[in-house]
């Protein structure tokens, strides 16, 4: 477990609504440097929106997002670019750019934002691909030529390519078979450990949550209704958490049929 110092990320009363439907309803959360937090919650509970609000991809309506003690909710221009430079993100569907080869995907930030030249960028990309268990023969392929698991690995390599301080993982194991999911979990653990990065992962996959989390938080109806250490998860004493982690249809959580 990391030592508790100044939190790396602090969310206070974070609110976001789409039309008249509230998605985030006052999220309060803090993440310590080097900590791996897993946020669990049902589909449509606002997990992805929370990550996107932290990154500024979705503009929050109210509240506060502090990164390293600096308020980032309304910063723009160069300050936002500098803030984003510290982040890496693995998207649910990998979100690889299909018009460029794998190595250019991995080295994208290095080349476009940091001005690293082609040969050097390719060498770094191949090194990062090796870190996620992919050989250099993959570097010149296009994303469409890869399997889902390989695309996730490439996406992970892209997320860590610029050595970020903070990494977000948006449902990293969704759509993968259990073995590949475990491989991805191992890679996430290893990459986060090697970089000493702070990580927030959102997932439905409890095996994944158990493996990669230091701490777990549950988001329900736009609020953090429980958080605690990984060890506390299985006996949280919270009926919502119990229902979710055991995947029971019966319980206080009623399935939301319509997507908001």
């Amino acid at each position: 477990m990391p030592n508790h110092t100044n939190p790396k990320i602090i969310l206070k009363n974070l609110r976001k609504a789409f039309g008249n439907k509230p998605v985030l309803n006052g999220v309060d959360l803090s993440i310590e440097p080097g900590e791996s937090l897993v946020v669990i919650g049902g589909s449509g509970s606002g997990k992805s929106v929370m990550l996107k609000c932290i990154l500024g991809i979705v503009e929050a309506d109210k509240g506060s997002v502090r990164i390293d003690g600096v308020e980032t909710l309304h910063i723009t221009g160069k300050k936002r670019e500098a803030m984003l430079d510290r982040f890496g993100m693995l998207f649910q569907g990998s979100a690889l750019f299909d018009s460029i080869p794998v190595w250019r995907n991995v080295a994208f930030k290095l080349m476009q934002a940091r001005g690293v030249k082609g040969d050097e960028a390719k060498a770094i990309a191949i090194k990062k691909l090796a870190q996620v268990g992919l050989g250099k023969e993959v570097a010149d392929l296009f994303p469409a030529e890869l399997s889902g698991g390989m695309q996730k690995r490439v996406s992970l390599a892209r997320a860590i390519a610029a050595d970020p301080q903070i990494i977000f993982f948006d449902e990293p194991t969704t759509g993968l078979d259990p073995i590949m999911a475990d491989v991805i979990n191992d890679l996430i653990l290893q990459c986060v450990h090697d970089l000493g990065a702070t990580a927030i992962s959102i997932t439905h996959d409890m095996a994944s949550a158990h493996k990669i989390a230091d701490r777990v938080a549950m988001l329900y109806q736009g609020q953090i209704i429980w958080h605690g250490s990984k060890a506390e998860l299985d006996h949280s004493g919270n009926a919502y958490v119990d229902q979710f982690i055991h995947g029971r249809a019966e319980g206080p959580i009623k399935m939301q049929v319509l997507k908001g």
Binding site: K52, L55, G56, I57, E81, L84, D85, F87, G88, M89, F91, Q92, G93, A95, L96, F97, D98, F108, K109, Q112, A113, R158, F168
Partner: protein, 273 residues
């Protein structure tokens, strides 16, 4: 009960109030869309002028618009010029004015048909392609990924396309003008038995620089419209395949309508006395 509550609760007024609600909602939706579009145009425009410039992306868009549209625009211009010569001959021969065919072809092509036909063809070829590409990038979170990779999507995706459209459509139209006039020449000389030298003389004699320049300025405006509409609808597409399809359709329809409307006002600006 307060007077206002009893007024709202009056059952006779319910259909009227529902109608007001629907009109109000539609009006608010329209104003919101207009605001979103205006904001998009301003951001796109500002990012075209401010560094960093992604020249690799600019070159790719120059290639896509210039190279891939040339055959379509060229063929359209060629057959437009040929049909124009045939139709003009058929019409003007009724009052023995066949000698003006060369002038009619040249003026029609350079002032109107060249830019408008090229604009519409590019809207179908490139506007649709931009909307589909950006729409797919939006629904697969590739545009969000760009942001997390410290790359501004307006600079990387929108600015190169808009700049390429504004700069390259005039080039395409200039080539289309030459091909269209050549089409009229071929039909007039080889089918209608005009004298080649006289036809060329007639074309040069009445054609003014302003005729060509006005067409090129129109082309630049149309290039802006086509690429901007493609980017706007692609950028704001939602859902999955259906959303991308809808974005593509909206981009082509909106571009085509705006080309025809703006053509009227530009013609008025250049040629009304």
């Amino acid at each position: 009960m307060p007077a206002s509550s009893s007024f709202v609760a009056n059952p006779l007024l319910q259909p009227f109030l529902r109608l007001c609600q629907q009109v109000g909602r539609a009006l608010l939706g329209f104003l919101q869309g207009l605001g979103q579009f205006s904001f998009f145009v301003l951001r796109a425009f500002s990012h075209c002028l401010r560094p960093p410039f992604y020249f690799g992306q600019w070159l790719r868009q120059f290639w896509d618009i210039g190279y891939y549209c040339l055959p379509v625009v060229g063929l359209t211009a060629l057959f437009s010029g040929m049909v124009l010569a045939l139709q003009s001959y058929s019409g003007f021969s009724r009052f023995s004015a066949e000698s003006v065919i060369a002038t009619v072809v040249a003026l029609s092509i350079t002032r109107e048909l060249g830019p408008v036909m090229a604009g519409l063809m590019v809207a179908g070829r490139i506007g649709a392609s931009i909307a589909a590409e950006l729409g797919t990038m939006r629904v697969t979170e590739q545009i969000d990924a760009l942001t997390t990779l410290s790359t501004n999507p307006y600079k990387y995706l929108v600015a190169p396309r808009v700049v390429a459209g504004v700069l390259l459509l005039p080039v395409l139209v200039f080539i289309a003008d030459i091909i269209g006039i050549f089409g009229g020449f071929v039909v007039s000389v080889y089918k209608l038995n005009f004298n080649a030298a006289t036809y060329i003389d007639q074309t040069w004699y009445y054609l003014e620089v302003m005729d060509v320049v006005s067409g090129l300025v129109k082309a630049s405006v149309f290039g802006f419209i086509v690429t901007l509409m493609g980017c706007y609808f692609g950028f704001h597409s939602k859902g999955g395949a259906q959303g991308v399809g809808a974005a593509t359709t909206h981009a082509v329809v909106a571009s085509s309508i705006l080309i025809l409307i703006s053509n009227y006002f530009l013609t008025g600006l250049f040629f009304s006395k």
